[in-house]
């Protein structure tokens, strides 16, 4: 018999490659027990890899009957020790951690133990103990097991704050190749079901205000990037579809970590660089908050994101005819398109210029990142950049960063071949420095502040 601590080690290890750790979007509360949702979410600590820990992220079980090539818990992997929590154990562990303010709640996923239905029932039992016996109102994110009875999804949706179903891989072909026991249709069905159940729940709540909320923080999904040759264009198109069709709150990307050998998988020496994942998140941000369309960011001609430059800068470089923009007259939409101007600083510009016309010196105080914005803005007609917008050196100027070469998040050797070309003539230290400047952004994205 394994102790709870041993199970925690096995099942925490098994869950750590999951990308999401967000605890936002739910305001659940109750006075007869403990815990509540914090709308913006709270990260409680950061692990040695720099990722935030907000939820107790564990699997119910890693004794999986499936054999997906990219997964550490595939049944053919004889090196992985197996464990399954009893619902009481996991509920108590969650409650005890929560009461010490270690976590915002539980992120529960699972390998498929026996059958999808059996697995879901274990998870439901855990949540029932937490919600009904402990009167726990903290955050719970549950990963729905594809293939489980839709009625079980209905039950768990009433207990959880957020549901997610992993789309796993960006295309059906990739899925067939690496996860032969899973089918696109089997993954899409629960997404569809969650969307409809949530809609139905909103209708019900109009009639009966006391009916319980169904997944108040909505649904999300996740896909592994870099295990297959899918392009960024197809990835972004897919995520656009996910947002539209299923009202997804988030689409997560997870740079592939080699955990198994398979003829179709990239070799262990070539993990997908985190930078590609980061660029995809930047593109995702542009679609969700900056009113960009997927096809504006990448197209058939260049289906992959520029690894050297962030997607907004590369978009601006392809549309120089729109710049420079005058900060005192440009409308919100246009300001949002300026590299170095974010949602917040664009709103600040609108508010600040009501009282007086803005000078270039004001922009930094308003939170504009002048390092990038200088090449694309005028203030009172005055251009502030070191290099003109139409200069052939503009791209080079945007790439110049402070030298910070001491720490390597990834190095050139880890680049897959598809990016190697873009790196000709670029020093490795430059690329490292570029990553260093992004680091806060990477984690900020993950924590969804």
């Amino acid at each position: 018999m394994l102790t709870v601590e041993q199970k925690l080690i096995i099942l925490g290890n098994a869950a750590k490659y999951d990308a999401s750790c967000s605890s936002s979007g739910s305001g659940r509360a109750g006075k007869d027990g403990f815990g509540n949702g914090h709308m913006a979410g709270i990260c409680h600590t950061w692990a040695a890899d720099g990722r935030c820990i907000s939820l107790l992220k564990v699997l119910m079980s890693n004794a999986c009957i499936y054999d997906c090539a990219y997964c550490i818990n595939r049944c053919s992997n004889s090196e992985t020790p197996r464990a399954t929590f009893r619902p009481e154990e996991l509920a108590q562990l969650t409650a005890e951690f929560y009461k010490r303010n270690y976590i915002e709640g539980l992120f529960l996923s699972s390998g498929v133990v026996k059958t999808p239905d059996y697995t879901m029932e274990l998870m439901i039992k855990t949540l029932q103990i937490l919600r009904y016996e402990y009167r726990f109102y903290g955050y719970i994110h549950v990963k729905v097991i594809p293939g489980a009875d839709p009625r079980l999804v209905d039950v768990i949706g009433m207990l959880a704050d957020r549901l997610s179903v992993n789309i796993e891989l960006p295309s059906n072909n990739s899925l067939k190749l690496l996860a032969p026991q899973k089918e696109r249709a089997g993954i899409i069905a629960p997404m569809e079901h969650i969307k409809l159940a949530k809609k139905q729940n909103l209708e019900d709540r109009k009639k009966y205000r006391s009916s319980p909320l169904f997944a108040p923080a909505g649904q999300t999904t996740q896909m592994i990037v870099g295990a297959t040759p899918d392009t960024d264009l197809s990835i972004l198109r897919l995520s656009k579809g996910m947002y539209r069709k299923f009202d997804m709150k988030r689409v997560y990307f997870s740079a592939y970590m080699p955990v198994g050998k398979h003829p179709a998988l990239p070799s262990a020496e070539k993990p997908t660089p985190l930078l590609r994942e980061h660029r995809l998140y930047q593109a995702d941000w542009l679609m969700r908050f900056y009113r960009f369309d997927a096809e504006e960011i990448v197209d058939e001609k260049s289906p992959n994101l520029d690894i050297e430059l962030d997607p907004k800068c590369s978009w601006a470089l392809r549309h120089l005819e729109m710049f420079p923009v005058e900060v005192n007259t440009a409308d919100y939409e246009l300001l949002l398109r300026v590299p170095g101007v974010g949602v917040k600083s664009a709103q600040r510009i609108l508010a600040a210029r009501k009282t007086r016309r803005l000078e270039a010196e004001d922009l930094r105080k308003l939170g504009v990142v002048m390092k990038r914005a200088q090449y694309f803005l005028t203030a009172k007609g005055r251009f502030v950049g070191k290099v003109k917008t139409d200069s052939p050196y503009l791209r080079q100027s945007l790439l110049e960063r402070r030298p910070m070469g001491q720490l390597s998040l990834f190095d050139g050797s880890a680049l897959p071949d598809m990016y190697a070309k873009g790196y000709e003539g670029l020093h490795i230290s430059d690329s490292t420095a570029a990553v260093m400047n992004m680091l806060p952004a990477i984690s900020a994205i993950k924590t969804e502040i």
Binding site: E5, L8, N13, N36, H38, T45, A47, K99, N101
Partner: protein, 251 residues
């Protein structure tokens, strides 16, 4: 004229009311604890008046949602001259009839906003970093050492989160503590010598273990970790206790 207030937020707000009332163009505000060495100014002692304070705050709220709270956050820094920055921002806000914190191009507003940001972000850090130790049935305690006096900003969060428990959060920098019970919460002063809290229970051990294994070894990035968890906050963080504070890795 130099307006001396009693050191409470309602005191500053009353001072602001009087300054607008007297149409005093060259006013300065200081708490009584700070004002000794400004003897050549004409002084006026402000008597804190909750109704006047409330009227100023209501006026500020009309300029923008959350403006009084943001003023309060900045004021909690208790930094020297904070009252004058607040006064300047409030004047500008009423002059242009806008949220004063949107006037960031003004040097003083920018400074005030920066201070509010610092205090606010430390308060948020305390929501993240408070680590309770269980002392008995529904009885918990935690220690923190924040730079700013943020207890007033976090009490409600924890009281609402654990409405059935009795708990204490001790601020060892400012020697004050939140005391919370099902009936409500308050802040009291504490002695400087406080016994340390026991951090060696089974859940502390399991949390440390979990914290260790959840990191992806191939992506180790201590610098990034330190950006989010500065070393000065680690002395009471269960998951960092007992480990040698990591020295910078070379390479």
């Amino acid at each position: 004229m130099l307006y001396i207030y009693d050191g409470s937020f309602d005191g500053v707000m009353t001072a602001v009311f009087e300054i607008f009332d007297f149409k005093d163009k060259s006013a300065m505000i200081q708490p009584e604890t700070q004002s000794e060495n400004m003897s050549f100014y004409e002084r006026h002692r402000v008597i804190t008046d909750f109704r006047r304070s409330f009227r100023v705050q209501a006026g500020l709220e009309k300029l923008g949602k959350g403006v009084p709270e943001r003023m309060y956050t900045a004021w909690l820094s208790h930094s020297e001259g904070i009252e004058d920055l607040m006064l300047a921002a409030i004047r500008l806000g009423f002059k242009y009839r806008v949220n004063p914190f949107t006037l960031l191009q003004d040097e003083r507003v920018h400074a005030l906003d920066g201070i509010a940001k610092k205090v606010g972000s430390e308060a948020h850090r305390m929501l993240q970093f408070v680590r309770f130790v269980k002392l008995g049935d529904e009885l918990y305690a935690a220690d923190i050492k924040p730079e700013y006096d943020v207890l007033p900003m976090i009490g409600n969060h924890f009281h609402k989160r654990f409405p059935q428990s009795r708990f204490m959060i001790r601020d060892l920098t400012h020697l004050r503590a939140i005391i919370s019970s099902p009936h409500g919460w308050e802040i009291t002063s504490i002695q400087s010598a406080q016994p340390p809290l026991p951090q060696n229970g089974e859940y502390e051990r399991m949390w440390k273990k979990y914290f260790e294994i959840i990191a992806i070894e191939q992506r180790r990035n201590l610098k990034l970790q330190q950006q989010f968890v500065p070393k000065k906050y680690r002395s009471f963080l269960t998951e960092f206790l007992g480990e040698d504070l990591p020295t910078k890795r070379k390479g």
